[in-house]
């Protein structure tokens, strides 16, 4: 490797040879690799192990975003289905169902109680269910009517 000046008036000598190398056989394999892609034998890009490792941080970020989105959507759906204390309070006040019980007590009770539609269906008789459904279908439904019938 012969040292030469960078230009005529330069005082510094530097070797001009190529300091970079390639893996063994790289230039023997490269033309056939391109030919294979062109001929459609290989439609996808060849990824080296290093390229795959380089993309791991981006894949991790993408996975995290997807996870956060899924959790966020689930939380949003839950919020849509839940009834706030204010809504319960407003409903009770409007329909005059209960006056003495505090809303917090009602919420606690409903969360602990096993009373649900299935329980009502299993404990009420067929005739009673027919009456309940009939009352519920009426536009001017009144809770007192339902309590009296039962």
């Amino acid at each position: 490797m012969e040292p030469i000046n960078l230009n005529e008036d330069s005082q510094t000598d530097f070797p001009k040879g190529n300091p970079f190398e390639v893996p063994d056989g790289y230039f023997d394999r490269f033309p056939s690799r391109i030919a294979e892609i062109i001929e459609g034998k290989e439609t996808t890009k060849i990824y080296t192990l290093k390229t795959v490792f380089k993309s791991i941080p981006f894949l991790a970020v993408a996975a995290m975003l997807v996870t956060v989105s899924i959790i966020g959507l689930k939380l949003l759906n839950q919020k849509d289905n839940s009834i706030t204390k204010e809504e319960i309070s407003h409903y009770i006040y409007q329909h005059g169902i209960i006056e003495e019980i505090e809303v917090d007590e009602l919420v606690n009770y409903s969360s602990q109680s096993s009373l649900n539609e299935m329980n009502i269906r299993s404990t009420a008789s067929k005739e009673e269910l027919t009456v309940i459904e009939h009352i519920l279908m009426e536009e001017d439904f009144d809770m007192n009517d339902l309590i009296n019938e039962l």
């Binding site: 960078l6 070797p15 893996p23 033309p31 391109i34 062109i38 060849i46 981006f58």
Partner: protein, 182 residues
Amino acid sequence: MEELSDRELLDMFANQATRNHAFNLLVQQYQRRIYFHIRKIVIDHDDSDDIMQNVFLKAYKALDKFREDSKISTWLYKIATNESITFLNSKKRRAHTPMEGLENTLSQNLESDSYFTGNQIQMKLQQAILTLPEKQRLVFNLKYFEEMKYEEMSEILGTSVGALKASYHHAVKKIELFIKSL
């Protein structure tokens, strides 16, 4: 391997029966020059390999429209330069790094690169080149290592010959200054 002229390659490429063979010959003919041009810009072998693949696939798709107002080699250098610059810019954006930060990274990569076989002086020279602004770096590499004429360089980089000469002169001065400061 005896090199074919641009005309011979283009005639073979125009014929459907010899098209892929012609392109294979073209790749064999220019791959080394194009690879080392890319490698001096992006430093890393795997990155250079990715860019090489893109360059030759783009060339294959566009060779039918090649107008012969330049040599095939000049045209390939142009594609390779653009692809390499695009690659570095996207790398810079992904890492949220300013260009100087990227140059430092490239310089560090050089020290740990198992495919860099230069001696200490060559290492210093490459590190000095990496401190240059992008255009000066391209001009210096093409002129100093590949001994390309300014006229051809002008076609590749879209810059006047006078501006290229000035760029090379500034690059040399900066490299000397960098080396002296070590």
